[in-house]
Assembly symmetry: C2
Homo-oligomer: 600 residues x 2
């Protein structure tokens, strides 16, 4: 059975050495006095202990048992409920909630590091508290004082959980066509009727109440996305003082049988004249919900990072242990029956790919979570706006690129194990199955790509992109005379320039035909992802070089960083070339065939 080990040393490298977390917190008035390195490390240690010892052992249990549906009730796998109780006792749910709402008022970037560990140890479990987060944020920012008073306290402690009910069977990415109805009642509440699907953690036995945040249409609402409102719909109705009343007209009709994340209940939720409460203005539901789109998408990017990390851990242990064949350059362990497979370059290539995606992905996710801190708590409007731009640009990249690379890493994990990778007991194939959903929910890779190229880059006439390429440019300029950095700086500088040129080229085409955006978007996203990670790997190499120059007891740790950066630049980054060439192929080869002529 695979045992997750929190990569604390690397997490600290990214937090403290790459991203100067202490300085980052010191710059934010909300955290200046209450977030020290000691505090951060204490939380990391506590979370690592919980993830390694409570959640990781339940990961295969959850996959094997799955959730059981019985007449509207859902039973979670053995141990899930008890682990959730411990999680509440440890205070994790309230960590990043502001103090005025009963939380601990700590930065969400700290919560993100904990999410990584939870996700790598047991993603399916982590979705139960994870989904609550969205409900809390929605009520916190858009709820009335009364709604906050009623729903927040127990959501914040984790005694209740929350969901986000968006999707209907005919409407996924295209929320404009949802049909769930909200009819006003005389008492100011609404009667919600409709069927929602794919509701993660929509029903379970881990908490005494579940607060659903539901998208629905008011009578006579405008068609499309501008006629959607947002409602709070509790499973059990709640009195003003927070005590539970009768059961509301909310019922789990069934749970899905699916490829992975078996431990999490993916529910069909039927609302049958359920009592709901409007949250935020009428017809502005999507707007309210999109406030947290970036956060939710970074949360999904974490799943990709988690898959890279956990599949790397499994594959590395196996590659050092498993004996097969001899190194082509002669036996490395002649006393053994064969060499451990880590001697083979193809195996090393897979391990280093996983490692480069895990550590590079960690840097990207933690960086974004710092920008998210600034968006919320930055001292000046200018600072917040700038962070919001960078965050908006990098979020679809992180979501799509890290989940796709996480899937690739998971595949390598299976492949390193050979035939044994296909066998459930080793845990590698579960990662492939669990992480596949990350490329689908919260907007597929293709949707993220359109968001990046269409909305973020082209609709801003490149302004958002330039904010980021300027950051890379500054880094390049600052280090261009550093001989040790040459192997990183030269290709990064060239690609940073090419990013702009490529954007121009696509923008010109798109003026002729907007479908050119759809034709280029996915390859553009990969290009952006590889270049973004190249920038972060170059920065990590620089930090490591500086540490080595200063003198350190951890020589091998820093040398490994530089080696991995070297691997990334020589063996991963060249992938951009194909994406550029495919983009050059344009729209025409995709549109020649009529829909009826794809098959005969």
């Amino acid at each position: 059975m695979p045992q997750y080990k929190a990569p604390l040393r690397d997490m600290q490298f990214v937090l403290h050495e790459l991203l100067n977390a202490e300085q980052h917190y010191a710059n934010l008035p909300a955290f200046k006095d209450n977030v020290s390195r000691e505090l951060v490390d204490q939380y990391l240690d506590a979370a690592a202990d919980f993830c390694e010892n409570e959640l990781s052992p339940l990961n295969q249990v959850g996959d094997r048992e799955g959730c059981q549906w019985n007449d509207g009730e859902v039973t979670t796998p053995t141990g899930f409920k008890e682990a959730y109780q411990k999680y509440i006792e440890l205070g994790f749910p309230s960590l990043a909630v502001p103090e005025q709402h009963g939380g601990q008022g700590l930065p969400s970037s700290l919560a993100t590091t904990i999410s990584e560990m939870v996700g790598a140890a047991n993603w399916a479990w982590g979705m139960y508290p994870g989904l609550s987060h969205g409900a809390v944020r929605t009520i916190e920012h858009h709820g009335s004082d009364e709604q906050k008073a009623i729903y927040l306290p127990k959501l914040v402690t984790g005694e209740w959980t929350g969901t986000m009910c968006l999707t209907e069977s005919h409407a996924g990415s295209d929320l404009g066509i949802i049909r769930t109805k909200a009819e006003p009642n005389d008492d100011g509440s609404y009667s919600i009727t409709g069927e929602k699907i794919f509701i993660s953690a929509g029903e379970h036995d881990m908490a005494e109440n579940i607060i659903h945040i539901v998208l629905a249409r008011l009578p006579g609402a405008p068609k499309g996305t501008k006629g959607i409102s947002l409602f709070i719909v509790p499973k059990f109705n709640v009195a003003a003082d927070g005590t539970l009343l009768d059961r509301n007209g909310v019922r789990c009709g069934s749970i899905e049988h699916k490829m992975g994340i078996h431990g999490n209940a993916t529910c069909v939720i039927n609302f049958d004249n359920a009592k709901g409460y409007l949250i935020g203005p009428e017809n502005r539901g999507l707007h309210c919900m999109f406030t947290f789109m970036n956060t939710a998408r970074i949360g999904t990017a974490v799943q990709g990072l988690s898959a890279s990390e956990s599949s790397f851990q499994g594959a590395l242990a196996y590659a050092k242990d498993r004996l097969a064949m001899r190194s082509l350059s002669g036996p490395k362990f002649p006393e053994k029956a064969a060499d451990p497979i880590i001697v083979h370059p193809a195996v090393r290539n897979m391990l280093l790919t996983q490692k480069a995606f895990a550590e590079g992905g960690r840097a990207l996710v933690y960086l974004l979570s710092q920008y998210a801190d600034i968006v919320e708590y930055g001292s000046t409007e200018e600072e917040r706006k700038f962070a919001d731009n960078i965050l908006s640009l990098l979020t679809p990249i992180a979501k799509a690129f890290l989940t796709e690379t996480g899937s690739e890493a998971a595949k390598h994990g299976v492949q390193v194990f050979g035939g044994h990778g296909f066998i459930s007991e080793h845990g590698m194939e579960q990662i492939v199955r669990d992480t596949r959903i990350s490329c689908l929910y919260e907007g597929t890779t293709e949707i993220q790509a359109l968001d990046l190229l269409g909305r973020k880059v082209l609709q801003t006439q490149g302004a958002m992109l330039r904010d980021f390429t300027k950051i890379i440019h500054k880094f390049v300029e600052a280090n261009k005379d550093n001989a040790d950095m040459k192997a990183f700086i030269e290709p990064l500088a060239a690609l940073n320039k090419e990013w702009g040129d490529l954007t121009m080229q696509i923008g010109m085409r798109a003026m002729q035909n907007p479908d050119e955006v759809g034709a280029a978007a996915v390859d553009y996203l990969y290009f952006a992802g590889y270049v973004t990670l190249a920038y972060l790997w170059a920065r990590m190499a620089l930090v490591a070089q500086q540490k080595l120059a200063e003198g350190t007891a951890e020589t091998e740790f820093y040398k490994a960083k530089i080696s991995t950066a070297n691997f990334y630049f020589k063996k991963i980054l060249p992938r951009v070339r194909s994406h550029v060439d495919v983009i050059a192929g344009g729209l025409e080869p995709l549109m020649e065939l009529d829909a009826e002529h794809f098959a005969f």
Copy 2:
């Protein structure tokens, strides 16, 4: 539930229009008088009917129910046994077995087309008869007359099935270290003792006897691969007249819980002083088994092709039906709530990728099966030798490239469905799980890559490769003045030349350090795969252009071929650029880290 539809029109295009199957059979004395187009088409129709109506409906049943192990006995999923009886009644098992062994004496290339349909309809089921094939061929070619008389008749009819027992828990790719022992008995038989794992179809309830072909070591055998012998070990001992006797010391200890192919029993088989019979010379077991390595590997390549085809069929139907969002270039179906997703370039890109891999893969597999016919039945030694060279070169390419592209196609199938792709009932995620094994068994992608670059290309000093690049060169020369072919011929000519240059470059490096072969092999294999498929797509485009020029009632079919070729050259083939650049990165970035410094 997905319903498989045999792509008969495309199969006929490849067989008859691209590969001139009639002429091919007319050239082989064994088939000259007994294989007509009518006969081929009759078999295709009968197999299509069986696969569509018997096997396809059992595909999800098999996945859901899996196999049940109970005290050594294995029960296959509902309907599997009955379908197998029909398969026997239809005479499919004996199709490609020579008449002197009780078969129908038809070409194995014809059997391959049927395998494709069986595999696409229900791969897990198809492995039961599929594994028998290896046992039949082994006995046919290496068995004594007595062994043939005892075992072949009922294996050929399909009344008995067969297995290949190679792998042990510590020995997969590295068969040289297997431990199963064979002790000689006084009566000329052997006592076989040991444990084999991953034995597909190793135990089941579909046939009255199972004939295991087992690798084991004789007492005092030389170490490594040169000390392995091959044995026939029946589940039930068999009298000279073929009647069943007592149960042999062969027992299924358990079956594996695995990612996919749940309908096929993957068995641990314990041999406990089981009675076995030496087949072929002592210590030449691997040699005997490797006789059919190419056939088995092409059989696995078929799995990749099948996954591309079945995932394409599922995704295409959904993409035409599912409504979401509007085309970026304006609504295409303004009367509907949204446009069908096939209007979106990113969706088309995934569908065309699946289509290009399915149809290109079909061309490659069928081409190889013709070479396999010639290796076995060619009139001259020269002809047979040449075919064997091409087959040896292209087999690892077909096995690894088509299974990896099949996995990619399966992934696109899920992605086209969005969140619904993750749900079991739609059948798309099953394809991902079922086909993942194809990249692992019969030698992983990494092993195939070493076989290609190391054994086939470099060890022959490029001779085998030149045989094939000359074929491409001839095709290029013959069509270089055809203006309609320019878009295909020019890049193909350039890549064909580059293939040689790339090989030289790696060969030079490998002289310095043999590990350079391991570092380059996987990317080299992808390069070879993309170029090989480019050659076949160019040939298919040429055939289509000729048909259109001649005049045809099937204009749209041939235009779709040319469009798909165009898509392949513009949107898939550029992937070679990254593989070339990654190869240029060499070995060094892979070897810097000590095994102990991959993680801290």
